[in-house]
Symmetry: C2
Subunit: 169 residues, 2 copies
């Protein structure tokens, strides 16, 4: 499994998340409430609401693509409040991570990743992907899904996973 594979998986999951937001919008319409109420919903009073979970999932994908691909990360300020704005954020994130090519990820395993929050320490590219990017990305994506699910949106595991490349014969 290459670093590019992991970034493509993040992209696929962000597209699945757009589909969860579609289902949330349908549910809001059927129940006659404003879908943006869900943007501020959360599972615990001291945990991030939906809007912040989506922003964080985007950032995990963006920084993984940037650090592992050796590209500067574009700035995406956390200003979104509505589902429409969150969709635009996801699209901006996808445009960036899909601009990082297979060639950019060459040598990512051993690349020195030193995000500011490590305070001068660093991680090997492989360790950053494994110990930071993958668990954090799926943490925020799953929590976003769980917030919608907790509020009654009709989602099932296949909405979470999306399609996968089965083979026959």
């Amino acid at each position: 499994m290459t670093h590019e594979d992991a970034i493509r998986l993040f992209a696929k999951t962000l597209r699945n998340l757009e589909h969860w937001m579609d289902k949330a919008a349908e549910y809001a319409k059927a129940k006659s409430f404003e879908v943006d109420v869900l943007a501020q919903s959360r599972l615990a009073p001291d945990q991030y609401p939906f809007v912040r979970q989506v922003q964080a999932a985007c950032d995990q994908a963006k920084y993984a693509a940037a650090y592992l691909g050796g590209k500067p990360a574009p700035s995406h300020p956390d200003t979104e409040q509505t589902f429409a704005e969150l969709r635009a954020r996801v699209e901006k994130c996808l445009a960036f991570i899909e601009s990082v090519s297979a060639k950019d990820f060459s040598g990512a395993e051993e690349r020195k990743v030193a995000p500011p929050w490590l305070g001068g320490k660093w991680l090997r590219g492989d360790d950053y992907l494994l110990h930071v990017a993958i668990p954090n990305f799926f943490f925020h994506a799953t929590t976003a899904y769980a917030i919608l699910r907790h509020n009654g949106v009709q989602l099932g595991k296949m909405d979470y996973i999306g399609s996968f490349p089965t083979q026959e014969g």
Copy 2:
């Protein structure tokens, strides 16, 4: 990132989950309730409770190690009801996945993975890891965490992530 790396990440996260259960037990004691109440807690009436999320996380790790390592998966029936039983389940799972060696994972990328639920179709080993094992494992681990968090257990992101191998200099 190798297939073995991914299985080791699942093992690390299952050990983190044991730590979340420790914190849940402390919280239950402080609030004078029976911790096993949390085993049946869930985020939505038609979503799995904590006990089933833990069993599913274990199974995702177990089947990934078995399919990708070319080993038969041991049977672990879903009979657990209590935190004590869930800890034993996690330990059984860890003992199995840690018995699969780096050598066993050699060639896992191209191994044909045909779980019964694919009804005769199959996935390349790399695709199974990427599209099934990783997202599903973290789905169930994160949902287990979220159920505890929703019920007031004092958990933070570092409990979720655990340790990681930073470098200096």
